[in-house]
């Protein structure tokens, strides 16, 4: 297991490096640069040239990447081209909102997916199975911004039950502002995770292991929860890690729809500003979350279905 973990980690670091180099290059290739963005519409050429020099944008791309990378090795992510503040400041400021959003989403998603997955898996083909499947599939296939707008129209604009946006408030002050964004994010990811569970349970409940356990006289509850679910949950856990990736992209849309000052909107802003160090900072965070999520999922899945259990019977 330790060997497995180290290999996985090494690979993850390599992945993150490739992503960082690619992001740097792509952002640098975008038309316009931070100087022209900062100065806006009325800037004269001389002003742009002055600012470019000040920001070091007139240096060759390779040098700039080298400087940025040597900073990274010493744990310095550099400073924003636009604000001059350390890149980490901006990320720290925006972290909380996204962490709360994603955290609450996961807290809702996991038990809900479990409930739906197990229910449908045990009653494969029944009316409830078909109904739940239809609902989750519908939620999955409707784009986030469409679902968001429908919910806002129904629950905020016409009935006033819930806040339409998080504008001018934060989640600690008004938890109600979380409800609609979380529904949108959960709705998108629910289907995949629940389906993985459903298939796993459905297959195993008909399988020889379940037969055998039932013959031993174990109650059905124990059979399902103790013996079938852990094995069936392994692929679902890995699906959950992919759901975390989906959440990252989902937050970009959801944050702009609900006016949330988070990492998603920050990332978009940094790209629009051609603020390369800031973009790199976000990419590091995102890559870190994805890598970590997958790593944890792999380890958990490994734990749920140790490959050795069949050998060391």
């Amino acid at each position: 297991m330790p060997g497995h973990t180290v290999r996985r980690l090494g690979f993850a670091v390599l992945q993150a490096m490739v992503v960082l180099v690619a992001t740097f290059a792509v952002t640098a290739l975008l038309p316009g640069d931070a100087a022209s963005v900062v100065l806006g519409e009325q800037a004269t050429d001389e002003q742009v040239a002055t600012v470019r020099q000040r920001l070091g944008l007139d240096q060759p791309l390779l040098d700039r990447f080298g400087n940025w990378f040597s900073g990274l090795v010493t744990g310095d992510l550099g400073r924003s081209l636009v604000t001059g503040a350390p890149v980490t400041d901006e990320i720290a400021r925006r972290c909380a909102a996204t962490a709360v959003l994603a955290g609450v989403t996961l807290l809702v998603l996991v038990p809900l997916a479990l409930g739906i997955g197990v229910t449908c898996g045990l009653r494969e083909g029944s009316r409830i199975d078909r109904a739940l499947n239809a609902v989750t599939l519908f939620l999955h296939s409707i784009p986030e911004f469409v679902l968001g707008l429908l919910l806002v129209a129904g629950f905020a604009v016409y009935t006033g039950l819930l806040p339409a946006t998080a504008a001018g408030t934060d989640f600690t002050a008004r938890p109600a502002a979380l409800v609609l964004p979380v529904i949108v994010l959960v709705g998108r990811q629910l289907c995949d995770v629940a389906r993985q569970l459903r298939i796993g349970i459905a297959e195993r409940t008909r399988g020889p292991v379940a037969e055998h356990l039932r013959l031993l006289g174990l109650p059905e509850r124990t059979v399902v929860l103790r013996h079938l679910l852990p094995a069936a949950a392994a692929p679902a856990v890995q699906q959950l890690a992919r759901a975390v990736e989906g959440l990252l992209t989902g937050t970009v849309i959801v944050e702009s729809l609900f006016a949330i000052t988070g990492l998603g909107t920050g990332f978009v802003e940094a790209v629009q500003n051609r603020d390369i160090p800031q973009v790199q900072g976000y990419v590091l965070v995102f890559a870190g979350v994805v890598v970590l999520g997958n790593l944890v999922a792999d380890l958990v899945a490994h734990r749920l279905t140790p490959r050795r259990e069949l050998v060391t019977w």
């Binding site: 975008l30 038309p31 316009g32 022209s36 963005v37 100065l39 806006g40 519409e41 009325q42 001389e46 002003q47 002055t50 600012v51 924003s80 636009v82 604000t83 503040a85 901006e90 400021r93 609450v104 807290l107 996991v110 707008l149 806002v152 905020a156 604009v157 006033g160 039950l161 819930l162 806040p163 339409a164 946006t165 504008a167 001018g168 408030t169 008004r174 938890p175 109600a176 409800v179 929860l225 103790r226 679910l229 852990p230 949950a233 702009s256 729809l257 609900f258 006016a259 000052t261 909107t265 920050g266 802003e269 629009q272 500003n273 051609r274 958990v300 734990r303 749920l304 259990e309 019977w313």
Partner: protein, 502 residues
């Protein structure tokens, strides 16, 4: 089978869900007006010399004052300046200040004004208002007394006072370099601000122009237009700035909101670069001017809520040449000109972006209209955040828009040889001489007549096709009164000190 009951069970023991306390919408605070604007993110500051976005201007207006302010047609009204006069040459100006105080109680003096203007004129600051003060010779300008200053210009300019009312020309206390918690003389005091986040200001009880009618003002950043409208309709904010024409149509007659629609405030135009083929050929320039159907553009791209343009900036503003006959579409003439120039089937791109909600439709329509006269035009969409920087050097035809500013300023920036925003590359010694003569003409009506002559020249050959003027739409909740319809960049726009909440 070895089991790991403990670990597995632990893995499957689910954390109890913390129930979400859904407390509905918060009680409304009658003393606090919440206004929603698109914001500039982390690069925002409260330095009034850096007002690239409308939200920056609105915040500057709340915290600071200018010497003069623009009426709706960009004529001037006095603010901190009580009166001003120039000598016969238009190079020496005297400004007398009214009695006003900064938020910390210090009086606003001539030194503060000089310091502010010096800052704005400093190239290192790269202020958007720098051009208005480029002619000031600071070495020869001075404070005559605490309430009077004398400014000397390097060249005559009888339009100089217009610059004092421009967004970004706000007066800050002498010596101010740090704007994290700024002190101004405006109707509101600073309370808190996060760049890209909310700003909270409190009313200035001792404001020289009367205390504001609300206790607190909060700026809420909402970049997405749909989200701004939703926040307004659900009562989270009371003011939503900058709505699309389609939204305005939808909200007309909605009992929850009133619309403030400033008609024809933003020029919508097409820049034709005169320094590069095909528009080095005057026949093709004339062909495009005759080939575009301005009525159709207004009907479709501005949802019929705008006004037709006559290829000139500033319809309805002071100094606009209203006497020039409206240019109409003449497809036959346009086709004949294209044929004459041997340019049938000539292909070029029309630069556009989603900077403005009407751009995409306008680009498609103009392309179709020009196809009808024999030109093969394709829209090319560019990134919005760098669009205006890019079209300065790239492409031969580009959509543009310009909000309200003095006509004289626009002519100077856009058409003077080497002007700061002369994207079309227009160069005419005759035109430049007219502008210089106008600037040196003391009599206002004679001066405006000269600006009219200058507009006649660019109407035909300036390389700007101003096809329409879009309406600027703001929606406010029914709780709000006291706000009036006014174009952005003018004084009565975003005057939150005049707002009342019921």
């Amino acid at each position: 089978m070895t089991r790991h009951p403990l670990t597995r069970r632990r893995l499957l023991t689910l954390a109890a869900l913390a129930p979400l306390a859904a407390c509905g919408t918060a009680p409304s605070d009658t003393g606090r007006l919440r206004v929603a604007f698109a914001a500039g993110g982390s690069k925002e500051s409260l330095d009034p010399s850096q007002v690239s976005l409308f939200v920056d201007q609105a915040r500057a207006k709340a915290l600071f004052d200018t010497l003069v302010a623009y009426n709706a047609d960009t004529s001037l009204r006095p603010r901190l300046a009580e009166s001003w006069e120039s000598d016969a040459s238009g190079t020496r100006w005297r400004i007398r200040l009214r009695r006003a105080a900064f938020h910390d109680g210090r009086p606003v003096t001539a030194d503060d004004v000089l310091h502010s203007f010096r800052r704005i004129a400093d190239p290192a600051l790269a202020s958007s208002s720098r051009q208005y003060f480029a002619k000031v010779d600071f070495a020869r300008s001075k404070a005559v007394s605490p309430t009077e200053l004398a400014l000397t210009l390097t060249a005559p300019d009888f339009e100089f006072p217009s610059g004092w009312g421009a967004p970004g020309a706000e007066i800050v206390p002498a010596g101010t370099t740090d704007f994290t918690a700024p002190i101004g003389s405006g109707p509101f005091r600073f309370v808190s601000f996060t760049p890209g986040g909310p700003a909270v200001f409190r009313k200035n009880e001792s404001y020289w122009d009367g205390a504001p009618g609300i206790d607190e003002l909060e700026f809420v950043p909402v970049n997405d237009e749909t989200a701004r409208v939703n926040a307004l309709l659900s009562g989270q904010v009371d003011y939503a700035h900058d709505l699309a024409a389609g939204t305005a149509a939808r909200l007309t007659g909605d009992a929850r909101v009133s619309l403030l629609e400033a008609k024809g405030t933003t020029m919508q135009g097409l820049i034709l670069r005169l320094t590069q083929p095909p528009f080095t050929d005057a026949r093709l320039l004339r062909a495009v001017l005759s080939g575009v159907d301005r009525e159709a553009l207004n009907r479709v791209a501005l949802a019929g809520r705008g006004e037709i343009g006559n290829d000139l900036f500033g319809k309805g503003l002071r100094g606009y040449a209203a006497g020039i006959p409206q240019r109409r579409r003449d497809g036959e003439l346009a086709r004949a000109l294209v044929r004459e120039a041997g340019a049938e089937g000539l292909a070029f791109a029309l630069e556009t972006s989603d900077v403005d909600p009407g751009f995409a439709t306008a680009a498609t329509l103009i392309s179709q209209q020009l196809k009808e006269i024999g030109l093969d035009v394709t829209p090319n969409t560019r990134a919005s955040s760098t669009y205006f920087g890019e079209i300065k050097t790239k492409g031969v035809a580009a959509l543009t828009r310009t909000a309200t500013l003095p006509v004289a300023t626009f002519l100077d920036q856009r058409f003077r040889t080497g002007g700061s925003n002369n994207v079309n590359g227009f160069a005419s010694p005759e035109f430049d001489a007219l502008l210089d003569r106008a600037a040196a003409t003391a009599d206002e009506s004679a001066r405006l007549a000269l600006f009219g002559d200058a507009q006649r020249i660019v109407h035909d050959s300036g390389g700007l096709l101003a096809w329409g003027f879009s309406t600027w739409t703001i929606a406010v909740s029914k709780r709000v009164s006291g706000l009036v319809t006014a174009p952005p960049n003018t004084f009565d726009w975003a005057r939150f000190d005049r707002a009342r909440l019921s």
